[in-house]
């Protein structure tokens, strides 16, 4: 035990130390090697232009190398593998794509993913905005915000345990220990194995992600709300607008760009969602989503790299419009600066 703590500690120090050493080492080396000197004729030679030419690359190189290895290369490789067979050795043309289009399970995953994309970002953003607005008006707003943010700190796996407990089902005669069924029974209803109810169980899984992501939306939107100039609100109030009118006509348009940022970020999270589905249902009972399906094809029953790659590409293609929009927005911001 002590040994493990020691090993861990050393590893942590070495890992962080190595990256620090890189930045200090290379920069000091650059200052030494390309130091100002004297020309043969004895006049002062500034090598600053040379240093300024090299230094930016010292700064960005580690980032570019790591991004190239961990993100760019896999994108290219995945695209290539999607044309190969299950072991990635034999070229099979478009057959993986044909398989995907014909596979009902894949279509089900697409349908479910679309549902997730429709509901989770919308609900999280809406509730987040509501909480952000309300919390600014009460004295205990910060406590409320902290409590709403709390699920953000919980892992998807931890969240699954929590929600398994919420949706737990016992036979009609036994006392229910899941709170949903307990409430249903208390109201005179029949307890249900909620997680197996087709179609609607998708929403039960979505609630978990909404529960997690609302805190994120709330924090960012509440910051944006504080940035709304008070003069604009006061002007509207003088014109006789009610609070609700002020909110929708004055406040919302001013924080629209932030709302879109939040929406986008959560959309990206949704496309990558995997842990919740795996831990709660593993895609059974019609709850499969693309990311989980991809994991299953890649690793279950011996694995199939070709088909797994096709599903991975679909996930990325779904994200492309969002990516393009993001870059455009960034460029527009840059132009305004």
């Amino acid at each position: 035990m002590t040994q493990q703590v020691l090993v861990a500690l050393l590893a942590v120090i070495a890992g962080v130390g190595a990256s620090l050493a890189y930045f200090f080492g290379t920069n000091l080396l650059l200052d030494r090697l390309a130091a100002d000197g004297r020309k043969p004729d004895g006049s002062y030679l500034s090598r600053e232009p040379l240093r300024n030419l090299i230094r930016p690359w010292l700064f960005v190189l580690p980032a570019l190398v790591i991004l190239g290895i961990y993100l760019v290369y896999p994108v290219v490789e995945t695209a290539r593998l999607s044309f190969f067979d299950r072991t990635g050795t034999e070229f099979v043309g478009l057959s993986n794509y044909v398989w995907a289009i014909q596979n009902p399970e894949f279509r089900e995953a697409i349908r479910n993913n679309l549902l997730w994309l429709l509901f989770v970002p919308a609900l999280s953003t809406a509730v987040g905005l509501l909480v952000a607005t309300l919390a600014d008006r009460v004295s205990w707003g910060n406590i409320a915000k902290s409590l709403i943010f709390m699920p953000m700190a919980i892992s998807f796996v931890g969240a699954s345990v929590i929600w398994k407990f919420v949706y737990d089902f016992r036979g009609p005669d036994a006392p229910q220990i899941g709170i949903v069924n307990a409430i249903v029974v208390a109201l005179g209803g029949e307890p249900q194995a909620w997680i197996t109810v087709p179609f609607w169980n998708n929403f039960l899984l979505m609630i978990i992600l909404v529960w997690i992501q609302t805190g994120f939306a709330m924090v960012i939107l509440s910051a944006a709300l504080r940035g709304v100039p008070e003069e604009t609100i006061e002007a509207a109030q003088i014109d006789g607008a009610g609070e609700i009118q002020v909110f929708f006509r004055i406040v919302i348009p001013q924080i629209m760009s932030t709302i879109l940022v939040v929406w986008t970020t959560i959309t990206i999270v949704v496309l990558k969602v995997f842990d919740i589905v795996l831990a709660m249902t593993n895609g059974q009972w019609g709850t499969n989503v693309l990311a989980n399906s991809m994991y299953n094809w890649m690793f279950r029953g011996g694995g199939d790299f070709g088909r797994g790659s096709v599903i991975a590409l679909v996930i990325m293609i779904a994200v492309v419009p969002i990516m393009v929009w993001n870059i455009r927005r960034f460029q527009a911001e840059e132009a305004m600066r």
Binding site: M1, Q4, A8, A11, G15, S19, F23, D31, N52, L53, R55, P56, F59, V60, P62, A63, I66, L67, Y70, L71, Y73, P74, V75, G88, L130, A135, R137, V138, I148, M150, A153, I154, S155, V157, S160, V161, K164, F165, V166, P175, Q176, I177, I179, T214, V219, S222, A223, A224, G227, Q237, E243, S257, K272, F274, G308, A312, M316, V319, I327, Q331
Partner: protein
């Protein structure tokens, strides 16, 4: 701001504000509350009653088996079998019976006749079975009873998880993964962000656009190619392909786009004069970055640190793929998922295990919360 006249409408409005906020907060905290209360409860109570009943005593029906005939002792010409059904002294028998269909047939201490013998189950769970003839039965006889379990809260479940299920090792392993995987990307991203914001070099604009674009690559895509690459590197240099170094770099790669994006926006927003006057004094970009920019960027760095920390701490997929399952590499999320699978029937292990895994992120969040909000304010929502 404006002086409002207190009146009925405003009072109602404020009441509504409070009420709806309370409602949302309650909805959001109930699941965690349920987990927390459950994790402190007795494991036998946990499976028979909801956590909201934790403060009242619960009843449990069960059976006990008497001793076999061989265990009888002769006392004063009588044959006696004695024993105890309840191990926990806080529990009490409320009623018992010889059949499972009438559990309330006898009150505790009230004797019942079994053929020619006499049986009594007492309130504390001890029983006494007497007969004038020697006992002849084989296996003991089942006696059915209702026991009352008082509400009890203890850290017993936590002790069980921490000692028995390798969670303690998983804790250390998770820290070993998390700390470098949080610090390394911050360091690398800060340098890159500064370069993108304040240094001039060819291709700056489009390189940054690509970095932003990479924000949206699903990391599941990277798994197969990276596995193969690790495999090749491992084979070439004769080293294992599942190492902490491997997972640090992977997390660094996956976290970098967001880090660079956030930090560049923040660092780019710092006043131009600071940097220009430092340059006039002859400071190099490296010196400016270390002496001026880093201290000024603390809020942004802290806010990203929380994001990255939460993400790495809570990650399952990357750990599942890039780390082994052995004691020396298993992380909390993996072991929690194992618990979910292997202990489908042991809620007490699940609840306390889950709570253990979220306690550190909660602590980190609450202690860095103020930086977090400030950093985001200055960063991504500028001008919002």
């Amino acid at each position: 701001m404006t002086a409002r006249v207190p009146g009925m409408t405003i009072t109602w409005g404020r009441l509504l504000t409070h009420a709806s906020l309370v409602l949302i907060v309650v909805l959001w905290t109930i699941p965690v509350l349920g987990l927390f209360i459950s994790s402190l409860r007795d494991k036998d109570q946990l499976i028979v009653s909801g956590w909201w009943t934790a403060f009242s005593a619960t009843e449990r029906t069960a059976f006990g088996r008497t001793g076999a005939a061989a265990e009888a002792v002769e006392v004063d010409g009588e044959y006696v079998i004695e024993g105890d059904f309840l191990e926990d002294p806080r529990r009490t028998i409320t009623s018992y019976g010889l059949r499972q269909t009438d559990l309330t047939a006898q009150a505790p201490g009230e004797p019942v006749a079994i053929d020619d013998t006499q049986f009594t189950l007492f309130e504390d769970g001890s029983y006494r079975w007497t007969s004038e003839e020697p006992f002849t039965h084989g296996a003991g006889r089942r006696i059915f009873y209702v026991a009352s379990i008082p509400p009890t809260f203890s850290l017993e479940n936590y002790r069980e998880v921490l000692s028995g299920e390798r969670i303690d090792r998983a804790f250390i392993n998770t820290f070993t993964v998390t700390i470098p995987a949080t610090l390394i990307p911050i360091l690398i991203a800060a340098f890159a962000a500064y370069a993108f914001a304040w240094m001039k070099f060819p291709g700056r604009q489009w390189l940054f656009a690509i970095v932003v674009g990479l924000l949206v690559v699903p990391l599941q895509m990277s798994l197969i190619p990276l596995l193969r690459m690790y495999n090749d590197i491992g084979a070439t240099f004769g080293v294992p392909s599942k190492t902490y170094l491997g997972i640090w770099l992977a997390h660094t790669g996956f976290g970098l786009p967001l880090a660079i994006y956030l930090l560049r926006n923040y660092i780019g927003g710092l006043p131009r004069d600071i940097i220009e006057s430092a340059q006039l004094d002859g400071a190099s970009h490296f010196e400016i970055f270390i002496r001026l920019i880093l201290p000024l960027s603390v809020p942004a760095l802290a806010s990203f640190a929380i994001f990255q920390f939460l993400w790495v701490w809570n990650d399952l997929l990357v750990a599942l793929v890039f780390l082994g399952k052995g004691d020396d590499q298993i992380v909390l999320t993996s072991s929690l998922r194992e618990l979910l699978g292997s202990r489908g029937d042991n809620w007490e292990i699940l609840t306390s295990g889950a709570f253990i895994s979220i306690i550190v992120p909660l602590m980190v969040f609450f202690s860095l919360q103020r930086y977090f909000v400030r950093g985001l304010l200055a960063g991504s929502v500028k001008g919002g």
